[in-house]
């Protein structure tokens, strides 16, 4: 047994369960047959090397990134469903050990299949002068995309509960497919040689893209690790989610011509997703409010509350930045986003205090209606200019205070409703 398997026992288990002799044999035979077929098919092309490379490369993508993501997304969900998760939680493995073990162990067979096609891809690349120069970059981006997709799938798995193991696997497949978008630029020749200005520094695009992808992969892995840590009763750290939001703001601001007024779009969306995904159940809510000291209060702060606080604070700061590029009307956008975020997230929390078995679905439906119904009705009645009163839109013909006031009232109403509902939530004596 090698040192890696000793360090991460999950790898030992996955080697036994995923990589049996018959599976390995099937993989080898398939790769030989498929590789041979690719070779034969590519030989008809004008650039057979390039074709062979792309055939083999996309098989690697399909196996390691798409299939690997489905395996990673099942890694924790399956354990919960099979009731082995509690047994893992009792071992001295830390959240880092478990998360890294699952990230490395769950896609082992997918990695084996992808590795079988490396010789075919190399054979193609060596025959094609066009591919040769880009090989390093293409595989660098492949590795970054794989890390991102697998980490995100692991995160989806960490957030799955007993009844949703299947949906975690579906999420993994979607994540795997969706992440292919980050691969696309690496395969298009145009912008690769060009550098672009990021935070005023000229960065080669072929270096920036894998680094940015891996950066988001690292956040997804960290989030999965933190979620596992919560199951292990490891100490909570309230600053983690706000730190991610600040990273998002900084990430957006780094682009040339990016406006600070749009910097809250991604953090607000992330906070809303946290409000939907993070089940702050009544018991956890009560415990947070009844925290005995500040440290405990901070540690138990629900992610969406911390996220909304960060968004509001950032909005107040950004709104103070003088407008440029003729975007005066957009100056109020961050504040609108923050206020409507508070409205929606507080409403989602209210839904968690109902008896619904799927409060997040209930909340998502109501929120969908909250955005759609005013849009449809006001459009039909010819009152589209009043839409800013119901959704975070800039009313160009209205004063700033008039634009912000509805959001403020919505947020105040939602928070008041949450305060009232949370007072009524209590266990039977």
């Amino acid at each position: 047994m090698n040192a890696l398997a000793r360090r991460f026992p999950e790898i030992y288990r996955c080697l036994l369960t995923e990589c049996g002799r018959s599976r390995l044999t099937v993989g080898v035979v398939t790769s030989l047959a498929l590789g041979g077929a690719f070779w034969s098919a590519a030989s008809w092309d004008r650039d057979p090397g390039k074709m062979l490379f792309y055939y083999a490369f996309w098989v690697q993508v399909a196996t390691f990134i798409v299939y690997g993501s489905t395996r990673a997304s099942a890694a924790i969900a399956d354990e919960r469903e099979a009731k082995t998760w509690d047994l893992q939680r009792l071992t001295p493995l830390t959240s880092g050990d478990i998360a890294a073990g699952k990230l490395l162990g769950s896609p082992l067979y997918a990695a084996f299949l992808a590795a079988l096609f490396v010789p075919w891809a190399l054979a193609g690349a060596l025959r094609s002068p066009e591919i040769g120069a880009e090989l390093v970059f293409v595989y660098l981006q492949f590795a970054a995309t794989a890390f991102f997709a697998l980490s995100l799938s692991l995160l989806a798995s960490a957030y799955s509960d007993l009844s949703r193991g299947g949906s975690a696997t579906t999420a993994g497949a979607l994540i795997g497919l969706g992440s292919l978008y980050t691969l696309a630029p690496s395969l298009s020749k145009g912008p690769l040689d060009a550098g672009f200005s990021y935070f005023g520094v000229s960065v080669p695009y072929l270096l920036w893209l894998p680094l940015a992808t891996a950066g988001f992969g690292a956040w997804a892995f960290a989030a999965a690790k933190w979620r596992v840590g919560r199951d292990l009763l490891e100490p909570a750290r309230f600053w983690r989610f706000p730190a991610f939001l600040l990273y998002l703001i900084a990430f957006v601001l780094g682009f040339p011509k990016s406006s600070a007024y749009f910097a809250l779009l991604m953090p607000a969306a992330a906070t809303l997703m946290a409000a939907l995904a993070e089940p702050t159940k009544p018991e956890a809510w009560r415990r947070w409010l009844a925290a005995p000291d500040r440290r405990e209060l901070a540690a138990r702060t629900p992610s969406w509350v911390a996220g909304a606080a960060v968004c509001l604070a950032a909005a107040l700061v950004i709104t103070g930045i003088p407008s440029a590029q003729g975007l005066e009307a957009y100056r109020r956008l961050p504040l609108l986003l923050a206020l409507f975020l508070i409205r929606d997230a507080a409403f989602i929390q209210c839904c968690r205090f109902t008896k619904s078995r799927r409060p997040e679905i209930l909340a998502a439906v109501y929120l969908g209606l909250a955005y759609l119904v005013p849009s449809i009705l006001l459009s039909a009645a010819g009152g589209r200019r009043l839409l800013y009163a119901f959704v975070p839109l800039i009313g160009r013909d209205v004063a700033a205070w008039e634009n912000v006031l509805p959001g403020l009232l919505w947020a105040a109403a939602s928070v008041t409703a949450l305060a009232l509902v949370s007072r009524r939530v209590g266990p039977r004596a």
Partner: protein, 308 residues
């Protein structure tokens, strides 16, 4: 070994464990009993540091569960009521995996053989887990629980779903573990099977502690005091009656065909003195034993009527 004060766990609209004060000494074997929904599993999970208490204190093996959950995990061997095992692995591979996960010193084989022997599973060690019977899986679960040699065993309904033969094997195993000095908390509905090896009883009802004490105390409560039963194999019955009535600790003696049953207010030493006086009076004693009722009697007596 276990100490709780004001331990409480709430769920959305129910309180599973309510302000529980409990103490279980090291080396004792405690039966955790109560009707369905009494909070037994929630309590065990909190003690195992798998579930965070809503409030209150729980100390396990000198560690507070909220402050040091990982230290608690190291000290505890917890067998849940429903648990899974890695079906594709063999029993030996499964134990090898947990040996790695528990970061136990190498070589692993010796320790794995030890626990396989302890649970009498060596013959099936190389069979895939999916082919094992329910009893074997339960024993494998117990082997996994014992692998890191924990001081405290928390067993949640270990005999649930087992046939009589498998239950008997499990009972034997728990008896051996009790003799080896481990502190054991075992929850079960089959109270008669707990009697042989349990020293203490903890009774819960709707999250509240109904009774906590020794088995003898539970029996006494059930019977309104300690009762003894004397069986004789012949000889002068008058001599036996005289010896009984001469002892101030004896009362309410009632004759039976083969002896007497009576209430006894003395301790074990006075019981031993009474037995000696009976023998020296020429009574041919063939049994002299507690007749205070069973844990089941205690359970029925102590539990609120609507749930008993």
């Amino acid at each position: 070994m276990i100490f709780t004060r004001g331990l409480r766990r709430e769920y959305a609209s129910t309180t599973a464990v309510s302000d529980l004060d409990l103490a279980i000494e090291a080396g004792s074997v405690a039966a955790l009993v109560g009707p369905n929904g009494a909070g037994k599993t929630t309590l065990l999970k909190m003690i195992a540091a798998l579930l965070e208490p809503t409030s209150g204190l729980a100390m396990v093996a000198g560690h507070e569960v909220h402050e040091s959950p990982r230290e608690v995990h190291a000290a505890v061997g917890y067998l849940p009521d429903f648990f899974g095992l890695y079906e594709e692995l063999t029993a030996r591979q499964c134990l090898r995996y947990f040996h790695l996960a528990y970061r136990l010193p190498e070589p692993a084989d010796r320790r794995i053989e030890e626990v396989l022997d302890l649970v009498a599973l060596r013959d099936a060690a190389d069979r895939p887990i999916e082919s094992l019977s329910r009893g074997m899986r339960q024993r494998l679960g117990l082997a996994r629980t014992l692998l890191h040699d924990p001081r405290l065993l928390l067993l949640d309904e270990p005999a649930s779903g087992l046939d009589p033969g498998a239950r008997r094997e499990l009972q034997e195993l728990l008896r051996r573990l009790a003799v080896s000095g481990k502190t054991i908390v075992v929850s079960s509905h089959i109270l008669t099977e707990l009697e042989d090896y349990c020293s203490h009883v903890v009774m819960l009802d709707r999250g509240r502690l109904v009774f906590s004490g020794t088995v003898a105390e539970a029996r006494r409560r059930a019977g309104g005091g300690r009762r003894l039963r004397l069986r004789v194999a012949g000889g002068p019955r008058e001599a036996a009656l005289a010896a009984l009535t001469a002892d101030s600790a004896v009362s309410e003696a009632s004759a039976a065909a083969d002896g007497w049953a009576f209430r006894f207010s003395g301790d074990d030493e006075s019981a031993e003195r009474l037995l000696r006086s009976l023998v020296s009076a020429g009574v041919r004693v063939c049994s002299f034993a507690d007749d205070s009722g069973s844990i089941s009697d205690g359970y029925l007596k102590l539990m609120p009527k609507e749930d008993a």
